[in-house]
Symmetry: C2
Subunit: 420 residues, 2 copies
């Protein structure tokens, strides 16, 4: 009896996590003689715990064909970190019961650092139970902070969005700067690592070009130095464009977004470093400021997906099937930079899951200029490689035609399970 596959999407979604699903599904259909069913967990690992399994063959082929170009997590994702399996035996026992009942012999988990950790724990638990299962982690995160892999799928597309949006908004503020807004602030995601903020720097060639100041979480925010720079740049070029990571902290190690603003009840207003910076500039320098917070827009902007990124994400899904057939387990697939000289080339490789869990990759020190506000040439080259090429979705009636799956789950075979 051929083993069934379980695949699920986990953590914050990306513009291309569905491309990885599409790669895996396409390869599965080409290898149907080798595998049993392909089940997708509804809402990540929750789908396994709740026995909410989507049989991929019940979805329309036409909608599945759109998956490669659809943002979000088409099967639902979740933020649920499994505890150590010695500490939460019940959950792991449940996973064992569900996988055994549904003859699941392949476990593919598509996510960031926490999800790789989950995959690692599941693999170890099943080995202890002597249940043979291939466990493969598929990387995904717009934060680009997974170790060992040269980059993470999702990052390239969001970087392309941020680079383009920064360039566009800069042209706007430049036009208006003589009599109106002189400062524009774009807040981007990145609690700990500045990869996304750095991506705005890809469009800068000359000193006068925007973005003029990038605020990285890796660099402590120095108010005095920041204001000095804003003033000087605005005097010199007539306007100033700032790209700020949501996670920048002041010298007391407090998130800037947590400091200062209070609502009418006196509660601290969380979220939004851009309005805090805006207020600071307005108060201290008296310039007119505009600010944007791109939030989920950046994370879902599939309409401006990077071709390189989409191809990497899709290949990872396809390769998962190849690895499974070779019975390679306990690994996370990785993207390897195999460039020779100028042309960027990459291939899919892998690393042991033990090496990935709980390691966050920050921007290397040599990617940030000594002034603390700009990216270096190696950083720019790294980013440019990942934003190459356009991979547009089809449009229907003026807006993108994205996949609409039914996500109907199969009939349950076990009693329902209560999560604590």
């Amino acid at each position: 009896m051929k083993g069934n596959i379980f695949y699920a999407q986990s953590g914050g979604v990306t513009p291309v996590i569905n491309a990885t699903a599409a790669g895996l599904i396409d390869a599965y259909f080409k290898n149907k003689n080798y595998f049993g069913k392909l089940y997708v967990g509804k809402n990540g690992i929750l789908g396994a715990l709740r026995e909410e399994l989507i049989d991929i063959s019940s979805e329309s082929r036409a909608e599945l064909a759109l998956l490669k170009k659809t943002p979000g997590g088409a099967f639902g994702s979740c933020r649920l970190k499994l505890n150590d399996y010695r500490k939460s035996k019940k959950d792991f026992q449940r996973l064992y019961d569900v996988f055994k009942k549904h003859n699941i012999k392949y476990f593919f988990y598509n996510g960031g650092g926490d999800s790789q950790d989950t995959t690692n724990k599941i693999s170890k638990y099943f080995r202890e139970k002597n249940y043979p299962i291939i466990c493969i982690g598929l990387p995904k995160t717009i934060d680009n902070d997974l170790p060992i892999t040269d980059n993470c799928p999702g990052y390239g597309s969001v970087a392309k969005y941020i680079a383009t949006s920064t360039l566009e908004a800069s042209l706007d503020v430049k036009s208006m700067s003589e009599t109106s807004t002189k400062i524009f602030i774009l807040e981007v995601m990145g609690r700990h690592a500045g990869w996304l903020a750095a991506s705005a720097g890809a469009v800068k060639d000359l000193a006068e070009d925007p973005p003029h100041l990038i605020l990285f979480p890796e660099v402590k925010f120095n108010e005095k130095l920041f204001l000095k720079n804003v003033r000087e740049i605005t005097k010199k070029y007539g306007y100033c464009v700032i790209v700020a990571s949501e996670g920048i902290k002041n010298s007391r190690n407090v998130f800037l977004s947590d400091s200062g603003l209070k609502d009418s009840f006196g509660h601290a207003q969380l979220g939004g470093v851009a309005p805090v910076l805006s207020k600071l500039i307005t108060n201290k320098l008296k310039y007119k400021v505009h600010w944007a917070v791109s939030d989920y827009l950046q994370r879902s902007a599939r309409h401006i997906g990077s071709k390189v990124d989409v191809e990497q994400a899709y290949s990872l899904g396809k390769k998962a099937i190849t690895y499974a057939k070779k019975e390679i387990s306990d690994v996370m697939l990785t993207i390897k930079n195999i460039s020779s000289k100028k042309n960027y080339k990459w291939s899919i490789s892998h690393t042991n899951l033990d090496k990935v869990a709980n390691v966050e990759k920050m921007l290397p020190r040599n990617f940030i200029k000594k002034n603390g506000f700009e990216i270096t040439k190696p950083c720019k080259e790294y980013i440019l490689n990942l934003i190459q090429g356009e991979d547009y979705p089809a449009y229907d009636n003026g807006y993108p035609k994205y996949s609409r799956l039914k996500c109907k789950t199969i009939k349950k075979k076990l009693a329902s399970y209560k999560l604590k």
Copy 2:
């Protein structure tokens, strides 16, 4: 001696105001035997007052060819409303001196309501002075609030961006809603008219589809009713997507963005209705909320320009030259809907400047559903017409290749002028 042309860009820029400039420039080069020089004012009417004139023939043809697909105002814009010419004689006398000195016989001003008013005033002043000049207003505003014209160039592209972004972010939040964020709020521009917020509704087909709630400036914000709807929608569909105009007001006619938030100095925090709504939902309903403020990103998102919008903007520029050759003056060019049955068709027409000045076109009452939170079928059809087709810019190295003009001004012939 052939008369020279003065063209300038005014007010908040749009993704396609440069397409209008491109249409005008292309038509000018084809009619060079008829006209003298084409001067573009640097920073709108300021360029005329300061005698800062860009001779278009001094710009590279290659860069001018990129203009049609470049956002922002390539020649600089300004926010400067001229007073009545009886009240600010000095400024008008200066315009007269500059235009006379440079033999300007054609005045094209590309802007919104205030700019049409400026064009009208200039025309009347020059007539009093018996100076023959053709004055033509070219419409432009993402707010879509100019009267008589069926729509305004700029609106279609921003509407396409908002519709697409809403759809994309909705797919994201839907994926996460089981264990994390359930509510997403997108703040869009629109101080008085809800045209931009309405555009999000173009992607909604079924009741369950996002956006679930649109907040229009035309409808007073009712906190109780709003929260009731958010709760019901979230219970029913698992998540709720809200698109809010920056200009919504409460029952006391106060901007929501002005109410409540105070900074550490006790000053009211201006700008940002999304964080206010977010805080309200978090406090009252305890849902996890994400919010985005697209600000200038929406206004400059040329990478997702609407083909219909770009063609209309370009045609308006081209037609300006045709009108000038016919010596038609004191008009604003308009877009006329000449659809027969199903297919959207349009043509360029015109209206007297007197009819345009100081009139703002709000969303018609029959474009908003009775519940106050959705658009009607006629509204959706209106919007869909304007977002049809994609008009992508060229990409170079991963991001759009936008025009870089020199904007070098010609040698001044007059003494410098001090603006009050």
